[in-house]
Amino acid sequence: MLTPLLILLSILIITIGYLATIYNRIVRRENKIDDASGSIQANLKKRHDLIPNLISSVKKYMDYESETLQQIVELRNLAQSGDLSQEQQKQIESQITQTLDKLMVQVEDYPDLKANENFMQLQRSLNEVEEQLSASRRFFNSAVKQYNDSIETFPANLIASTFDFTSRDMFEAEVHEHKTPDVGEMLNS
């Protein structure tokens, strides 16, 4: 009488233990996505902090392109306003990247500006932030991939559906990111 009960009990304990492990693994991976997302935010913040300095050092030289400068400032303010959905934020940041790229191309026509020590330093910092941003996005994507893999495979998918874990979206590679090396060549020339 006692033996079948014990067997059942141990099977139950093992099953619960197993399910708990799977659950914990999913939670850990979800937390990793949050970590990665936090690191993206930190890098975006760094970029936002750089923009005012960049604008003020560029403004003295580039009157004609004030439209571009204006656009960057507006986008930056918009991004910092806080009440944005994730999708909107992505779009704005993507626009900032594009506009900054455009600005760096326009800088080509201003040799004085290009030679300016302060501007060069800012440009280096900007390059670094962009690179860090790209690294944190890659880290985010690999975290999302691990997480998605873990909730889509059996038996973890049962747990995932029970506890409402849903798959997440990755960052899509932005075409203009590939242009970043151009800035380096500009600096070298």
Binding site: R124, S125, E128, E131, S134, A135, S136, F139
Partner: protein, 462 residues
């Protein structure tokens, strides 16, 4: 970067002069070695006298050794009818005088004695007759010869070591300073052991490090240093009877042996041999990231070696199945975990360990990953007979690269020293490509900076 054409120009202008100076230096070393030899004759005589005594005591030994000495002396007297060697060109080839021949002669006869010495023992066991006299004389003879043959042999090795050293100091030093004014060359120095160990480039800690050809300097904006190393996982044995100084001496002797081209007493504890290169990385970064080859065992290096003979001499050095691609205990201590990047091709070649996955991606940007693959291919194309393995570590804003080689990289191989000294005209030497190879090896090493784009300083590090 200097080109091969520049080098040829430099060679005609300056290096020819250096080689002339070297010839004089080598002649001096030769002369010194010649002077040393006569002092050692009594030792050889003792050996020979003991041999004669031994001949009386046992008939088999008598006939064998007698025949051998007869053969050796005939050969020696035949060769010594040639004029005495006084010029620098005659060296290191086939021994041509009696003195030159003596070491080989005594060594060989010593070995023969060792081989035949068990015969009285076998005779004793099988017949029950104990030939006491034969027993004693054979061992005494063998011991004497093996002990004393080291003396003339030592003189020859010392001479060769001195010649190699002289050539290396001058020639390599000159070529390196041609490649860049900032370079400092220390032929007997090595990269600091702690730097290598702390970087965790290898899964094992090097407790003992042999090194040579240390170069330090700047390529463009990038600080670099490199040297050839042999890393060993076990320390020098501490023997209680040795005083501290004696131990130091012994260690120094080992290092000198290695530098002078003598074989280091090789054993299973050597786990890496090759080039170790450290460069300032072009980005500042935190954390610790390591890129190690997958499925790497030392047998890969052995298999890829082209020469059978060399393979035999190399076999004793490494455990064939020792896996160096696995994480080891101290990786876990540093919380290094394997991470997966987006490049399947790179993943198939290398395992990447890091304690900061985001920084790992910052260091190993898409373009750096491409560069690692290109470098991997280029390394294997450059010396394609070796299938060299590349280890990378990124630590404290520096990049460490270790490339395994089965033999010395910055050393004119084998008979090259003779070629350098023998060439009758500068053009002839260039044709023989010994110097050109040396130059290309160096160019390859310094090219690492370009390979990894380390001079592009568009990030906040300048």
């Amino acid at each position: 970067m200097r080109t091969l054409e520049d080098f040829k120009q430099f060679y005609t202008n300056e290096l020819t002069q250096t080689i002339e100076e070297l010839r004089d230096e080598v002649a001096q070393i030769e002369a010194n070695a010649q002077e040393k030899k006569p002092d050692k004759i009594p030792f050889i005589l003792i050996g020979v006298i003991l041999y004669i005594a031994f001949q009386f005591s046992w008939i088999i030994g008598n006939s064998l050794i007698g025949l051998f000495i007869l053969y050796g002396v005939t050969k020696a007297s035949f060769s010594s009818s040639e004029p005495e060697i006084s010029n620098t060109k005659q060296q290191e080839g086939f021994p041509s005088t009696f003195f030159e021949l003596l070491p080989d002669l005594t060594l060989a006869s010593g070995f023969i004695t060792l081989v035949i010495s068990p015969i009285p023992l076998i005779y004793w066991f099988s017949t029950g007759v104990f030939l006491f006299q034969a027993f004693i004389w054979i061992f005494l003879g063998a011991f004497t010869l093996l002990f004393f043959n080291g003396v003339p042999l030592g003189i020859r090795q010392e001479k060769e070591a001195n010649i190699r050293k002289a050539i290396k100091h001058k020639l390599l030093g000159k070529i390196i300073s041609f490649l860049g004014d900032s370079f400092q060359f220390e032929p007997t120095d090595s990269i600091d052991k702690d730097k290598i160990n702390n970087s965790l480039t290898f899964p094992k800690k090097a407790k003992q490090l042999y090194g040579e050809d240390y170069v330090q300097g700047k390529v463009g904006n990038t600080d670099i240093e490199f040297s050839e190393i042999i890393a060993s996982k076990s320390p020098v044995k501490k023997t209680a009877t040795f005083s501290h100084n004696k131990r130091q001496e012994k260690l120094q002797q080992k290092v000198n042996n290695y530098i002078s081209g003598k074989k280091v007493a090789e054993n299973n504890s050597h786990f890496f041999r090759g080039l170790y290169f450290i460069a300032d990385f072009h980005k500042n970064f935190q954390g610790h990231t390591i890129v190690r080859p997958t499925n790497f065992t030392w047998s890969d290096v052995q298999k890829s070696k082209n020469s059978e003979k060399k393979q035999a001499s190399f076999k004793g050095s490494y455990k064939p199945d020792e896996r160096l691609d696995l994480p080891y205990e101290h990786d876990y201590q540093q919380e290094l975990k394997q991470t997966t990047l987006e490049d399947p091709e790179l993943e198939s070649l290398y395992n990447i360990y890091t304690n900061d996955p985001q920084q790992a991606r910052y260091i190993l940007s898409t373009s750096t990953m491409e560069r690692i693959k290109d470098f991997h291919n280029r390394t294997n194309d450059f010396h394609d007979q070796y299938k060299n393995k590349v280890f990378l570590a990124f630590y404290q804003s520096k990049m460490h690269i270790a490339i395994s080689y089965a033999e010395d990289l910055l050393d004119p191989k084998g008979a090259a020293y003779e070629h350098i000294m023998d060439a009758s005209s500068p053009e002839e030497l260039l044709e023989k490509e010994q110097l050109v190879n040396l130059f290309q090896d160096l160019q390859f090493i310094l090219g690492i900076v370009e390979d990894f784009n380390l001079n592009t300083r568009i990030w906040s590090k300048q």
